[in-house]
Amino acid sequence: MSPNIPASAAQQVDPAIVHSRPALELQNASVVFGSGNKAVTALSPTNLKMERGDFLALVGPSGCGKSTILKLVSNLLQPSDGLVLVGGKEAKGKELRIGMAFQNPTMLPWLTIEQNIMMPLKIVEPFKQTYRQDKKGAFRDRVHALLAQVGLKDFANHYPWQLSGGMLQRSNLCRALVHEPDLLLLDEPFGALDQFTREELWQIMQTLYLDRKPTVLLVTHDLREAGYLANRICVMSARPGRIISDEPVNIPQPRDISMIYSPEFVEMTQGLREMIAQVRSS
C-alpha cells in the first residue's frame, strides 16, 4: 500500500470493541412493498451478522432480495420491520461511512475520473471539512495512489466516456474505497464484464481488500466470483428471500486465480449451485 494512504480507522480500533460491535447486523429486518392485497414481500425477516473485516458474498436466484439487503444497508431503502445496524448504530444519516459500487459504473459524465473518485471526499465527514484545502494536495495524492494500484495511473484526467467498461469499473472500485469506508457494498460490480476482464478485476479487488481489510458485502450471481473473493458465502432462497445457508470459505488468502479450476473449489461451487437450483425449483 502506498504510504500516502493512512491505515484505515477500523484497524486502529481496540479488538475487544470490534468483537462486541459487529460491523453489520440485520435483526429480523424485512421489506414489504405496497400494502393490503397488493403487498409484495421482497425480503422475509432476515438475521445476519458480519464482523469487521469479513468478506461476505450473498448468492441466490434472481429476485430473491439480495439487492434489497444492499439497499437496506446503504440507506436507499428503509426496513418495513426490524433493525439494520451498521457499526452498532441504526443505518441512518451521515455518520456511516459506506462505499458502494454498482453493476453500472455510474461515473458522472461531466467530471474527470479524478474528480469522480474525489466525490466521496467532498461529501463524507471528516474529509468534507478539509476538502477545499486538500483537493489539490493530500486528497489528490490519495486518489492518484488508488488509481496507480488499479493500473489507471495515466487516466486521472480522462473523462468517463474515454474509458472502457473494465477501466470504468476499476475507477468505480476506487471511488467506493477512497473515503476508507467501514462497509463496502458491491452490487454485482463485475457482472457486465467479459470473463478475462472480470478475472483481472477479481485479482485487483482481492489486493485492495487484503490491503485495507474493510468489511465487504458482495452480491453476485457468479459462484466462482463468490468463492474466489469471499471468506463467507450466504445462500438466499427464492422470493421472498431468506438466508438458507451460511458457510465459511476455508481457503487462505491471497488466492491464486488458477485456484478456481482446482477440484476442491469446483466441488464447493457445485454444492452452492445445487443448493440454488433446488430453491429455484421449489
Binding site: 440507506n75 458522472l108 461531466w110 466525490m119 463524507v124 466516456w161 474515454q162
Partner: protein
Amino acid sequence: MTDSQRIRFLSTTLIIGFFLMWEVLCIMLNVSDLVLPRPSEILVTLWTRFPVLWPHILQTLYSTLFGFSLGVIIGVTIGVLVGTSKIAYAVAYPLLVGFSSIPKVAVVPIFVLWFGSGTTPAVLTAMVICVFPIVVNIATGLATTEPELEDVLKTLGASKTEILWNVGLPRAMPYFFASLKVAITLSFVGAVLSETVASNMGIGNVMMTASSNFQVSLVFAGLIILALMGVALYAVFSFLESRVTGWATRGNDIAVT
C-alpha cells in the same frame, strides 16, 4: 480541404451570392429603391448613418441583455423549484403551459400601460419572453436525472442540496445552455418589438421612424444590424455552450483505445 473547411467556404459563398443576386436582380428588373433598395445602397446608408445608429444599437443591446439576465435569474429559480420536486412539477405544469402559450407580443401594451413607453417595457418584454424556455429546460434537465447517478451520492449520505449541486445542476447544464441560445434570440425579438411599438430609442424605433419617413434604405440598414446582432448573440452563447457542456456533445476524435 477538410469537410468543415469546405462547408465554411460554401456557406460564405452562399451568403455573398445571395446579396449579389439581390443587387443584380434589382438592377435588371429596375426595382425602385422605395420598394427594395440594393445592398450597395444599404451599405452606404449604414456607413454614413452609423454614428447616429450607434446609440440605438447600444440601447437595443442594453434592453435585450438586461431583460435576458432578469429572465435567466427568474427562469433558473422557477426551473429548480419545479424540477426538484415531482409534485411541484405536476402541479405547476398546467399553469406554466398556459403562460407560455400566450403570445408574448400581447403583453407589450400591458407593460406600456403600467410603466409608460421607453426602456422599461422593452426590458420587461425581453424578460417575459425568455423565461419559459429556461424554466422548461431546467426543470426537464433536473427531472430526467438518472436515479442511479443520484444514488451514488445518496449512499454517501449526501443532503438534498448536495445532490442538487453535484448531480442535478451539472446534469441540467446542457439543457440550460440549449435554452439560453433560444432565450437570447427571443429576448432580442422582444426588446425590438417593444421598441417598435413604444419607445423613442433603439433599432426598432429607428426602423419604425424611418419607415414612416420613407427612408427605405435606412429601414433595411436597421434590418441588417438586427440580423448581425442576433447572429452575434447566438454565437456567443453557442460558444459558451460548447465550452461548458462539451461532455454532453463529445467528439469522436479524442477516443482512447
